[in-house]
Symmetry: C2
Subunit: 135 residues, 2 copies
DNA sequence: CATGCACCCTGTAGGAACTATAGGGTCAAG
DNA sequence: CTTGACCCTATAGTTCCTACAGGGTGCATG
């Protein structure tokens, strides 16, 4: 418990570049950490969890603004439940759409691999997996 | 059939900025379309499908390079099946990881909404949904 | 104790993927 | 025949990193 991490440790643990961590601090997505006697940044487990969240949310295609917003759901100090509820529901819609798209893509990639395994290189429908939304 | 679309039509149909479409053309992600007498770009259904794919793949957090690679699975003219298979499997791994992360996030958002509906604003575990990978 | 070497610091500049603006042409409607 | 919505090229700006440049820290090792 109470383990302290250097910026390099944090970078390694999350697959982030050291510069990116400093960038997030500048953008106030990560709280300013404590400093050692030698002026090195000193992090703890909560920083690790938060950075992991940011990185993986970014990897899922959420903008930093959206990530900030999602983190806000957690950071709320005295926000009303209606506000939180509305924001969360909004995110839910986007998340569900992304899951549906990824599932369709997954299906096409899988069938491509299957075709290859059977030696039958039929038509590739990968583009159709993410076809325009019906309007 | 054989319907022709202006760049504005394409933009509207896919939720893309007109400038972004021209940018993709420059990056050779979209093939150069035909031109009208007045030098306007003229697209067809295949452009629409391809652009839709690009936009939605981008929204899912794939880099343009990765999208180019995915499109390559479809564009292959004379590529070997082993090559295709390897690339597709690699993408499959990433897609599955994204689906797992989104599902975890979806779960936490859902429980947040449920808590609000019941008036019990317990602890928010949204950050934990995308916790660091065990190493 | 000095001297590497790996790591950290604060800048600032560069790159990827758009996005906006300037300055101008096209075209259907009135 | 002009007005407004659209298109054209070219270029500069924004977001989100990423890569130096120039220098300090800290620990092992001769």
């Amino acid at each position: 418990m109470g383990e302290r991490l250097s910026i390099g440790d944090l970078a390694k643990a999350t697959g982030t570049k050291v510069e990116t961590i400093r960038y997030y601090e500048q953008m106030a997505l990560l709280p300013k950490p404590g400093r050692t006697a030698g002026n090195y940044r000193s992090y703890d487990a909560s920083h690790l969890a938060r950075l992991s969240f940011i990185r993986r949310a970014r990897d899922l295609g959420f903008s930093l603004e959206r990530v900030r917003n999602l983190l806000g759901l957690s950071d709320r100090k005295d926000r009303s439940c209606e506000g939180i509820d509305a924001i969360a529901e909004e995110h839910l819609v986007e998340v569900d759409r992304k899951i549906a798209d990824l599932t369709a893509l997954r299906h096409e990639l899988g069938s491509l691999v299957q075709q290859c395994k059977r030696g039958t290189i039929g038509e590739c429908r990968i583009i159709e997996a993410l076809a325009p939304h019906r309007v």
